[in-house]
């Protein structure tokens, strides 16, 4: 069936572009390799946890940075968590921004931190979008009777 082949090709190309553009790194590959019949939704589950966790953290960061006296230790702790979880799923760009964010925390630089927060929020929404598209493509491929090609 042409349709399935086309979908699979689309999926492969799209995934490759995410790696190529640095949205995802090798760790995402590792996640995909861990997925199997006993746990066919593993990647989606982990990424969903990442989405929930990130949104909570970004919210908290916004609140903490709006305080009259900014608690930089708290900011740093949140960013550390976000850095960890983005690293665990392979969200490379978000992870890299978190590193820069932590530097601003160390410098006790509120303005810098606010700027970093904006950048992280932006990058996060990009990668969220990309991953949701990826999962949709996977669903379509499977629905059409194809299997997810392993890279």
């Amino acid at each position: 069936m042409d349709g399935v082949v086309q979908l699979q090709k689309q999926l492969v190309d799209y995934t490759a572009s995410l790696f190529h553009e640095g949205f995802l790194d090798e760790q995402f590959n590792q996640l995909q390799q861990l997925q199997d019949e006993s746990n066919p939704d593993f990647v989606v589950e982990v990424v969903s946890l990442f989405f929930e966790d990130s949104e909570r953290l970004l919210n908290e960061l916004g609140k903490t940075l709006e305080q009259k006296t900014v608690d930089f230790k708290k900011v740093d702790a949140h960013v550390h968590q976000l850095k960890g979880s983005s690293s665990s799923i392979g969200a490379q760009r978000v992870q890299k921004l978190c590193i820069a964010f932590r530097n601003c925390c160390e410098e006790l630089n509120t303005e810098g931190c606010l700027k970093c927060l904006q950048q992280v929020k932006h990058e996060y929404s990009l990668v969220k979008n990309k991953l949701e598209t990826l999962f949709k493509l996977e669903q379509q491929t499977i629905a059409a009777g194809g299997s997810i090609p392993t890279l």
Partner: protein, 232 residues
């Protein structure tokens, strides 16, 4: 439930991050371990059955090593950075406990800080994994578990010369070590068959076996085999 070669090994994973707990659980299950995850050092100690006063009972523990444990745990893998009790604090508590100190502990961290790594290894951690942890890291856990099983074996056979599991070593106090090493080699061979793709990891396994014979470690693990000879 007592046969080491047939039972699945049980790993206790400690991490405050839900995502990382999910990941490590999957990695361990994929490698055929039985897994329990907890989100803090305090909960880990509870699970291990450690209460503050256990540390003052060394006598009972040397005869019945698992007396204070509810469930047998063959390895503990813990995150370093956790609120409250850090992975390092947990490591120390485990090593200070007469009932738990024989359980191998591995530390994970997202940060590559040499002084931190050294401190953990000096305190008795077997290995230090940088996050994100991968399957290739988890494949390195087996030798640490087997080494401990081996030590338990040797302690039992030298204390109870009449009723040990290895039939031939009545009068050979030096030999139990060798005999157990043969068993160890058999297990290594089984591992070989199971993990052909991980061939390059077998190399590190045989290094560790050599390390056992010489009492030295080629990598960062500190020598731990003196404990075996002093029991003899």
């Amino acid at each position: 439930m007592g046969m080491a070669t047939e039972t699945q090994f049980h790993v206790l994973a400690v991490d405050d991050s839900l995502i990382d707990r999910k990941l490590i659980e999957k990695l361990l299950k994929t490698s055929s371990y039985q897994v329990t995850t907890v989100d803090s050092g305090t909960k880990a100690l509870e699970f291990l059955g450690l209460h503050e006063d256990d540390q003052s009972n060394p006598n009972t523990s040397s005869v019945f090593p698992n007396n204070h444990q509810e469930v047998e745990v063959n390895l503990i893998i813990t995150d370093y950075c956790m609120p409250g009790m850090t992975g390092y604090d947990l490591l120390r508590k485990i090593k200070e406990s007469s009932s738990l100190r024989n359980i191998p502990v591995v530390i994970m961290s997202s940060e590559n800080v040499p002084s931190r790594i050294n401190r953990c290894l000096e305190e008795g951690a077997e290995e230090f994994f940088l996050k994100p942890v991968r399957l290739s890291d988890v494949n390195r856990l087996k030798p640490h578990i087997m080494k401990t099983k081996l030590k338990d074996h040797v302690i039992i056979s030298t204390d109870q010369k009449q009723e040990n599991e290895e039939e031939d070593d009545d009068d050979e106090s030096g030999k139990p070590v060798l005999q157990s090493q043969e068993e160890h080699q058999q297990r290594q061979q089984q591992q070989h068959q199971q993990q052909q793709q991980q061939h390059h990891h077998q190399h590190s396994n045989s290094n560790k076996r050599k390390a056992m014979e010489e009492g030295l470690s080629p990598d960062r693990t500190r020598p731990r085999y003196n404990g075996v000879t002093t029991v003899v």
